[in-house]
């Protein structure tokens, strides 16, 4: 059997065939991932059995084993030529386990408030993954917006709409019993197997590695252009670079010229033919600084002058996606209107009240219990 064709994304039936074939079970990349997905799905199915503690524990063990298998397989694929003896990354694995633990507890916990709290755990662990991926701004705004705002709204509504627990019964029946657990898990398994085979096929792995290499330079150039979009910051970093270079020059001249070398003030950065003030040469950046007396000097910018993540994201947001930003504002405004209209107290008037408001006589005689909605 040709394993190369099996590494393609949509080869799940073929992967099943291979899994049944005892000669090539673990040698096929697609089969290993699919089996691990199946084990996780089976574990989740057992966890969802209501009420039986032993089965749920077995399911937890099974799901953990499946997730560990998936993680090991996926991490092994990150280094294409087998393990190079380096440590597996600890933090992504730990955050991944916390995230998945929170997610599974959230969808299986019988108390809605606890489910919401487990979602907070998921959000925080995901923010940790964001940090590891270099998205600091989004990590913290995720915690602020999700855990701080959205989840609080959910908690409010949960507590508003919570039915008072009946003694001896415990949680509401509709929170305890899952609906169509088996078919839902089959659907989830198929999607998970497809996604993981698409993400982690050898083809996709090498594509990602290529992209990573290819965009390394352009990403840095992009970051320097972000600095170019912030003229004041660019000027300040040019001044700082100038002061630093004067200092290093002075120390290399070992005190021969200690007199009066206060740094002159850079008044402007001269743009090049394309209008870029921050010019790039390869991954390095330099500026043409202009002093008050009109002389110019070429200054290299240090790595520390690269804009921070939040500046980068901000400039990207307003320079590349201004229309998206406007639409996001409209979406939020519409959601505000919609929420106000939906949540407004709706008083339903009965027939009699409506007649009264219209200045007409009531249908029902006073004292009779025929009036609808009179209690409201």
């Amino acid at each position: 059997m040709d394993f190369a064709t099996l590494s393609h994304a949509s080869s799940i039936p073929a992967a099943f065939l291979l899994a049944a074939d005892d000669t090539g079970v673990m040698t096929s990349p697609a089969a290993a991932l699919t089996i691990a997905c199946a084990i996780s799905a089976a574990g989740l199915a057992l966890i969802m059995q209501p009420g039986r503690q032993g089965i749920r524990t077995a399911g937890t063990v099974l799901a953990l084993a499946g997730f560990a298998m998936l993680m090991v397989e996926v991490l092994a694929r990150a280094t294409p030529h087998g393990s190079d003896g380096s440590m597996p990354p600890v933090f992504p694995v730990v955050f991944g386990f916390i995230t998945l633990f929170g997610a599974v507890r959230m969808i299986t916990h019988p108390k809605p408030v606890f489910a919401a709290l487990y979602f907070v755990l998921v959000v925080i662990a995901t923010a940790g993954l964001f940090l590891l991926l270099g998205a600091e701004f989004m990590a913290f705004s995720l915690i602020i917006v999700y855990a701080g705002a959205i989840l609080i709204t959910y908690m409010f509504v949960l507590m508003l709409a919570q039915q008072s627990p009946v003694a001896g019964v415990g949680d509401a029946w509709y929170d305890r019993l899952p609906r169509e657990a088996l078919s839902a898990i089959v659907v989830g398994f198929v999607i998970l197997a497809t996604l993981s085979n698409a993400f982690f096929s050898p083809q996709a792995q090498s594509d990602r590695a290529d992209t990573f290499e290819r965009t390394e330079l352009s990403g840095t150039v992009n970051a320097w252009q972000t600095l170019d979009a912030m003229p004041k910051l660019a000027l300040a970093s040019a001044q700082a670079a100038y002061v630093e270079s004067l200092k290093s020059l002075k120390s290399s001249n070992d005190g021969a010229t200690t007199s009066a070398t206060t740094a002159a003030k850079i008044v402007a950065l001269v743009p090049d033919a394309q209008g870029n003030r921050v010019r790039t040469r390869g991954a390095d950046a330099f500026v043409m600084a202009q002093f008050a007396d009109g002389t110019t000097i070429e200054l290299a910018l240090p790595v520390s002058a690269l804009p921070t993540n939040s500046r980068h994201v901000g400039v990207e947001l307003v320079s590349k996606f201004p229309a998206g930003l406007e639409i996001a504002g409209v979406v939020l405004l519409m959601a505000l209107f919609g929420a106000v209209i939906l949540a407004r107290k709706q008083i339903e008037l009965g027939e009699d009240e409506r007649r009264e408001l219209a200045g007409m006589r009531r249908f029902t005689i006073e004292g009779e219990s025929g009036g609808t909605g009179a209690q409201r």
Partner: protein
């Protein structure tokens, strides 16, 4: 004196001659193992959200599960943005957050409305909304 001479005479020559370190976006460069782990977690989060949405009966938890799916999508965005050395992925997560907030406001308003009618959060209580 040499400094002064440099600024006035040697205009437009590179002043800093010390070797620059090879430059990557320092904090964003992460190894493929981290990216792989994040992608796996994102796929699992999405699937957990989906399974939760299908199996839970509580309407509020169902909407919470859609937020779980949003998380999975956002994590994938960040991971692929890292691979591409591009901040667009992070910008998209901002939009995802916006949509999630709008959805939470509207969905919770709806749920409160529905709860007032039937005095239950069970989504099966609104079975007659489905087609025949």
């Amino acid at each position: 004196m040499s400094c002064f001479a440099l600024t006035t005479i040697n205009a437009s020559t590179t002043m800093l001659m010390q070797p620059m370190p090879t430059l990557t976006l320092a904090s964003t460069a992460s190894d493929p193992a981290t990216v792989n782990a994040a992608l796996l977690v994102s796929a699992l989060l999405f699937v957990c959200g989906l399974v939760g949405f299908l199996t839970r009966r509580n309407m509020i938890i169902m909407f919470l599960c859609t937020e779980l799916m949003f998380q999975g999508a956002a994590l994938a965005m960040i991971a692929f943005g890292n691979v591409h050395h591009d901040a667009s992925g992070q910008v998209f997560v901002i939009f995802i957050l916006t949509v999630a907030a709008a959805e939470a406001a509207l969905a919770l308003g709806l749920v409160v409305l529905l709860y007032r009618r039937r005095e239950t959060l069970d989504s099966q209580a609104w079975n007659e909304l489905k087609e025949a």
